[in-house]
Structure formats: structure tokens, C-alpha cells
Amino acid sequence: MDITLQPNGAFHSALVHLEPGDQFKSDSGAMFRASSNVDNDVTTISRGGGLLAGLKRMAGGDTFFLSTYQTTGGEGGEVGVAPTLQGHVAQVDVESSQSWLCAGGSFLGCDGHMDLTPRFQGMKGMFSGENLFFMEVSGAGPLLVGAYGSIREVPVDGELVVDTGHVVAFESSLSYTLSKTGGSWLTSYLAGEGFVLRFKGQGRLLVQSHNPREFGAMLGRRLPPRRG
């Protein structure tokens, strides 16, 4: 497998070249082009496990549809993937000794031989919109992440507070707690800052310049109310 990042202006994408026998796993919505000899197998990952639980949760955004791509006919092929929103794409080379946690909305894809384990966060569901879900990616290989806006690597050594909406991916050597920004929930709420992740330890962290939820909220206020 060979990955070419295509950083065209503000709108990045990635092209994955598959050889026979290679597999590439991807968020089902991320593929925008594929060779005709590329086969796609869709599975779901959901909180409750199983397909039915998956269907029930579709509306809640709790279910993750995962596509596995491989080529047929003994020939190579290509799969192109891109984030939903405008932004950059980055590649992380995951080592076997160190797994990564990737925010659900930032996961674009990874080598099909790597392991994916969904991690749903405990406080999820307390407030709407704080749908915090991480995909743990382990095993050696390439991981592709997409962002809303630009991606920046921020090395953590000690402690760092990051708004949940700006977290893209981080090494599992970092410990984290979901908490509030200010001294009280009221202060955090009034300042428009809901949840933050407090990272501790040493490790690599990727953040995105813009917050998809913030964009959604700004746009949503100007859209007609949802009926029913």
C-alpha cells in the first residue's frame, strides 16, 4: 500500500494505491473515487454491538460505518478519500508499540491489517452535541486523519487543555480526562465552552484549527426549525 496526500489548496484529499492482497479500512462516507476493480465490504461499529443496535443508533450518530477496500482480479487499484468538511489531511505512521486514539469525526482510514477498537466516552449524552467517540488504532501502519481547517501537531509534555471539538488524534501514552473549562460548569457554559479534554503525560497530539460543532451551531441558528 502506498498513500499520496493531495494537498490542493484549502481542500485536501488522499489517494491510496492498493496492491493485490492489500486492504484499506475507511469511514464509509470518506471514499470519493475508486478503481473499478476495487471491492468494498461494509461493517458497522456501534456502541451496543451488532447490526440491529447499529440501525437503532443511526439517527444518534453513534454508529460508525466502516468500509474495507481490496482489489480484485490480481491487479492493483486506487481509492481516494477526503474529509466531509473543507480542510487538511494528514498521515500518521502508527508504530506497533504505540496505539493512537482518533476522534470519530476525524478518522479517514488506515491499513486494513491494523486493529480498530471504538471507545465511547463516559459522559457522552449528558449534553446534546457532545458526542465524544474515539477510534483506537493499533498495529503498525499508516493512519489517515482529516480536519475541519488546518491540522497542527502539538507535542504534549506535562498538561494541556483542548476543546473537544479541536481534537483530531493523539498517542495513547497521553492520559486524558473529560472536564470543564472554567472553575464551574456555569462559568464554562456561559463562556460557550462546554467540554474540554485535559491531557497529561508525554506524547503527540494533532489538533484542527476549526471546530465542526461550532460551525454547525452557527449555521443551525439560521436554518428553519426541524419539524417532528
Binding site: 473543507q86 481547517g149 498538561e159 494541556l160 487543555v161 479541536h166 472554567g182 460557550g192 436554518l223
Partner: protein
């Protein structure tokens, strides 16, 4: 204070290192990351009545967050919309911002809300403007790219594209070509600026984005 505007023109964001005791007032929800040593307090922007009025009529945030701490620390801010972040130093001077354009200011800059008049209310672009007055650093943001115009005489701008202007400019709100064309052309109300001063205009407009999206939504 050390500051750096990164990512312009597409994905502008602001990176600031605060010295011990230095404080920064920040638009609601704009903090993206910070040192754990920084503390957050909230303030009403422009007083209780103005805050209440903004909340009721403008749908804007009621409060600003104040970040600072005895040890100082690092703070990164980003606007809700992709675009350009602007920095202006105020020296006993004033700049007027439209609702939604404010990102942050240092404590020497005072924020006051001003009711833009009934016509501004009906324009749908936010009935209030924000006056930033004093001495210090002011940061604001534009949706898309930004065009800085030196106005000498007059200039007409769609209300949704106005970001900020100097108070030496006066303006009146008008419909382009009368009520009928305003209703049917999709061109909203305009702000007709008069005088001499700087004016910042953004190349995208959130009400227009939302208006374009609305017919595609299914109830």
C-alpha cells in the same frame, strides 16, 4: 504578550502567550486550547441590558470569557467560521464591529454594544454592532477572505459582508433599488458608508450560506 496570527487566509487562528496577570477577553466558544495554568471567568459584554437585548434580538452570545492567570500561559483561539483573522492595535481609538466579527481583545479595550436601529433588526444581519474603544489589541474575524478598503467618499456594501469600520465613517441602511428588488433579487439590505476611514469587508456571508442550504433541507 506574544501573539501570532496563523493560517490566514483560509483557516486563520490566533496563538497568544499571556504574561503573568495579563488578561484577554474572548468571544464565546472561541478557545481551542490553553495551558492548564490559565483561569476562566465570564463577563457580560457591554452591560446587562445590552447583553440581554443582544441575546433576545440578536441571538448572539451574552457573555465573553476572560482568560488569564498568575503564571500566565498559552492560549489558542479560532473563530467558528473558516476565514481570516485580523489584528488591530487601538491607541485611544475606536473600531466598530458587526455581531459575530469579534474574536478577542486585551483588557485596555472596552466593548460596548450599540443598537443598530430598527432597520438593522429587520435586515437579519444582527441588530447590534459592537464598539471596541480604548488602548490595546483587538482581534476580529472574517468569513472567507477579507478586503480592507480605504473609503474616501461613499461605498455601498451588502450588510452580511460588513466586518468592521472606523467611526469616522457614517452609514445608512438602504435596500438596493427599492423594496421590490430587495424582496426578489436576493440582494439583502445594504449599508451605505459615507466619509473617510477604513472598512473591512468579508467575501462570504453566513446568512447567505444558510439561505442557500435551507431549500435543500427536508422537514
Amino acid at each position: 504578550m506574544e501573539l501570532d496570527v496563523l493560517g490566514n487566509p483560509d483557516y486563520g487562528e490566533l496563538s497568544i502567550d499571556l504574561e503573568p496577570g495579563e488578561k484577554l477577553n474572548v468571544e464565546s466558544g472561541a478557545m481551542s486550547r490553553m495551558s492548564p495554568s490559565l483561569e476562566l471567568r465570564t463577563h457580560l459584554m457591554g452591560g446587562i441590558l445590552a447583553g440581554l437585548a443582544r441575546k433576545i434580538f440578536g441571538g448572539e452570545s451574552f457573555f465573553v470569557g476572560e482568560y488569564g492567570g498568575p503564571q500566565g500561559g498559552h492560549l489558542s483561539l479560532s473563530p467558528g467560521l473558516p476565514g481570516t483573522v485580523l489584528h488591530e492595535h487601538l491607541d485611544n481609538s475606536e473600531l466598530i464591529l458587526t455581531a459575530g466579527s469579534f474574536l478577542a481583545c486585551t483588557s485596555g479595550v472596552e466593548l460596548k454594544t450599540r443598537f443598530g436601529g430598527l432597520r438593522a433588526l429587520f435586515s437579519g444581519e444582527g441588530a447590534f454592532v459592537l464598539r471596541a474603544i480604548g488602548t490595546g489589541e483587538l482581534f476580529f474575524n472574517a468569513y472567507g477572505a477579507v478586503i480592507e478598503k480605504q473609503v474616501n467618499g461613499s461605498l455601498r456594501v451588502d450588510t452580511g459582508h460588513v466586518v468592521a469600520w472606523e467611526p469616522t465613517l457614517s452609514y445608512s441602511i438602504a435596500g438596493m433599488g427599492g423594496l421590490k428588488s430587495t424582496l426578489f433579487s436576493g440582494e439583502g439590505l445594504t449599508m451605505d458608508f459615507q466619509g473617510t476611514g477604513r472598512l473591512w469587508v468579508q467575501t462570504r456571508n453566513l446568512p447567505a450560506t444558510a439561505g442557500w442550504l435551507t431549500p435543500f433541507l427536508r422537514g
